[in-house]
């Protein structure tokens, strides 16, 4: 059942990709609602999967690489719906859906029936600070992922504007000034969430393993440097977007250690 929900969710996000690609090729906006609809259904299915998985485990489902990747995918969709809508950036969903598909696709590849927890295995004592810490950290990854997406969109539009290309993406991508603002806000959002996430580690009954803490601290440091450089050196849009795209390698690599 859980696995079925996950497959259905992934297929729904794939459909979001396909419909938005078709709409883009035809230069039509009407299909945006189909994309949003598919993404909403995909997100609902993700929620259902995580809920059932959480019920089985008796705690937040973050016990394996498979679950972490699904949780990151869910975080990306969550930030997209909670924050992305506020930016009113057309094509944000177009670029976000494939990223979710990639994360969930890799998660599905990592899935092994032996990893399915039994009810007994899950019934342990849950330290809510651990769950809060892990969930906040991974939700911050969702914000960084959206900053990555906005960065990619900026770089494409920047290239179009400089070269005077008015092709497929030009008309539908949002103004670059809005993208710069969105990248800045998403970086701050992710950084603040991650900071709170790290601070909550000090409340945990048992301090997390040092390699996990180091991995997450490296991510925190990387984005801290990006934000500091932006504030101190008044980074232009292209450099900011490049950093937002490049820095996303840190959250991805850190998943190997969580």
């Amino acid at each position: 059942m859980e696995f079925g929900l996950l497959i259905a969710s992934t297929i729904t996000f794939v459909l979001a990709c396909v419909t938005s690609w078709k709409a883009l090729r035809k230069q039509r906006r009407a299909s945006a609602w189909f994309r949003i609809g598919f993404m909403a259904v995909g997100f609902a299915l993700q929620c259902a999967f995580l809920y059932l998985r959480g019920q089985t485990l008796g705690k937040c489902p973050l016990t394996s690489g498979f679950e972490i990747l699904i949780f990151v995918s869910w975080s990306i969709a969550l930030i997209y719906f909670l924050v992305g809508g506020g930016f009113r950036l057309s094509l944000l969903g177009f670029f976000t859906a494939p990223l979710i598909v990639i994360f969930q696709g890799v998660a599905l590849l990592l899935f092994h029936p032996a990893n399915v927890p039994s009810v007994d295995a899950g019934l342990g004592h849950a330290d809510y600070w651990v769950e809060f810490h892990a969930a906040l950290a991974l939700i911050s990854y969702g914000a960084f992922a959206l900053a990555f997406v906005a960065g990619v969109m900026f770089l494409i539009q920047d290239r179009n504007l400089r070269a005077g290309r008015t092709g497929m993406f030009f008309h539908q991508l949002p103004p670059i000034h809005y993208l710069i603002q969105a990248i800045g806000r998403l970086l701050w959002l992710g950084f603040l969430l991650l900071t709170v996430g790290i601070l909550t580690a000090f409340k945990m009954e048992r301090f997390p393993e040092s390699y996990k803490l180091i991995a997450i601290s490296v991510v925190w440091l990387a984005y801290g440097v990006v934000i500091a450089v932006r504030v101190v050196r008044s980074l232009g849009g292209r450099r900011l977007a490049t950093l937002a795209v490049g820095a996303f390698v840190f959250p991805i690599l850190s998943c190997l250690f969580l």
Binding site: G164, L173, P175, I176, H177, I180, R230, S234, G236, R239
Partner: protein
């Protein structure tokens, strides 16, 4: 009953010819009344713009379209004192071709600037004037109301309106892709040339409010600033505005580069990453080539803008087939579903039908 369209447009008549045959708003009611009084004409509407003058007529049941066209031509000749050769620029459409033509006109497919939207409002005005004069009946009412549906359909289901087709419009499009809402954008005009005035006005029409004008001749700068509601500054002061402005339009006659990376770099840091859009409308160019490599600076010269305008026109031309497919579908529906429900009018009879909501719509 049959529809007839008789008139000229920018493709068939020169400006001099078009000037001869044009109806002002004040003269329309009289002209419409005279037109409807012609033998064989049951309903009439006149579409008169700077690029076209077209009579849309409904031939009464017992009249041939040829007869109606002859009468309309004779009336125009008398009305405007035209010679026979003046009528050579006129074309006529009959029956389904009239519907197809009007649908295409309302969709901007027959305009000088393909896909332009102003014509839609002009067709609406022409229809309203004819309605107020009481010269439309159930046939023209249905035809015109259908053409508004077609115009909207074509614009929303094809890309005929997408892409700028003039230098000014390309400048606006680029500015909107950089800044989004232009209401907060400040414009600096370096040089008070005609093309920069027009481009600034295009930007103002999209919300840009603050315009600063700088010119070697300060008097000219003051004159242009007053005309477009801006502020004039001396030519040696424009670089002090670089931190504040968002768009620079340069069109001086200087033989050397006026805007260089050396001029811009000190202000770029103080702009805190805010984009700067430079439009170079002069030849030789005012903006040094290396400026385009600066972070957050976007430069477009006249060549690039003209190339983009041409590309925009080409893209619109590529849409014509899809647009005419929509038009043809509506023509077919109009003739198979809408018209069969309409009773033919009689000569001399009141063309309006009080029970038909469309008649007095």
């Amino acid at each position: 009953m049959s529809f007839v369209c008789f008139g000229y447009n920018h493709e068939t008549a020169s400006v001099a010819s078009r000037e001869k045959v044009a109806f002002t708003e004040a003269r329309l009611p009289d002209a419409l009344a005279q037109l409807q009084a012609l033998d064989g004409v049951a309903e009439a509407a006149i579409l008169s713009t700077c690029n076209r003058m077209e009579l849309y007529l409904v031939a009464a049941e017992e009249s041939s379209t040829g007869h109606v066209i002859d009468r309309a031509g004779q009336w125009l000749q008398d009305h405007f004192e035209l010679k026979q050769e003046d009528l050579e620029a006129f074309y006529h459409r009959e029956a389904e071709d009239t519907a197809r033509h009007l649908f295409a006109v309302a969709s901007g497919l027959n305009s000088m600037v393909l896909g332009e939207t102003e014509i839609f409002g002009q067709v609406k005005k022409a229809y309203a004037a004819a309605q107020q004069s009481g010269t439309t009946g159930k046939f023209l009412n249905r035809l015109f109301q259908r053409c508004f549906t077609v115009g909207k359909h074509v614009r929303t289901h094809t890309n005929i309106t997408r892409g700028a087709t003039s230098v000014g419009a390309v400048g606006v499009e680029m500015a909107e892709k950089i800044f989004g809402d232009l209401a907060k954008c400040q414009i600096l005009l370096i040089g008070a040339g005609e093309i920069s005035r027009r481009t600034a006005q295009s930007l103002q029409s999209r919300g840009a409010s603050a315009v600063i004008v700088s010119n070697r001749s300060h008097d000219k700068a003051v004159e242009l600033a007053e005309e477009i509601g801006g502020r004039a500054i001396r030519f040696d002061e424009w670089d002090q505005e670089l931190v504040k402005v968002d768009i620079i339009i340069s069109s001086t006659a200087a033989p050397h580069h006026v805007v260089t990376s050396h001029t811009l770099t000190p202000s770029l840091r103080r702009r805190r990453g805010r984009p700067l859009f430079l439009i170079d409308l002069s030849l030789p160019r005012d903006i040094a080539p290396e400026v385009k490599n600066l972070e957050s600076v976007y430069v477009h010269d006249l060549d690039a803008l003209q190339r983009l305008a041409e590309a925009g026109k080409e893209r619109r031309r590529e849409q014509l087939e899809a647009c005419y497919a929509v038009v043809d579908q509506h023509v077919s529906e109009f003739y198979t579903k809408v018209l069969p429900q309409t009773r033919p009018p009689q000569v001399g009879a009141d063309s309006g039908d009080m029970n038909d909501p469309l008649t007095n719509a």
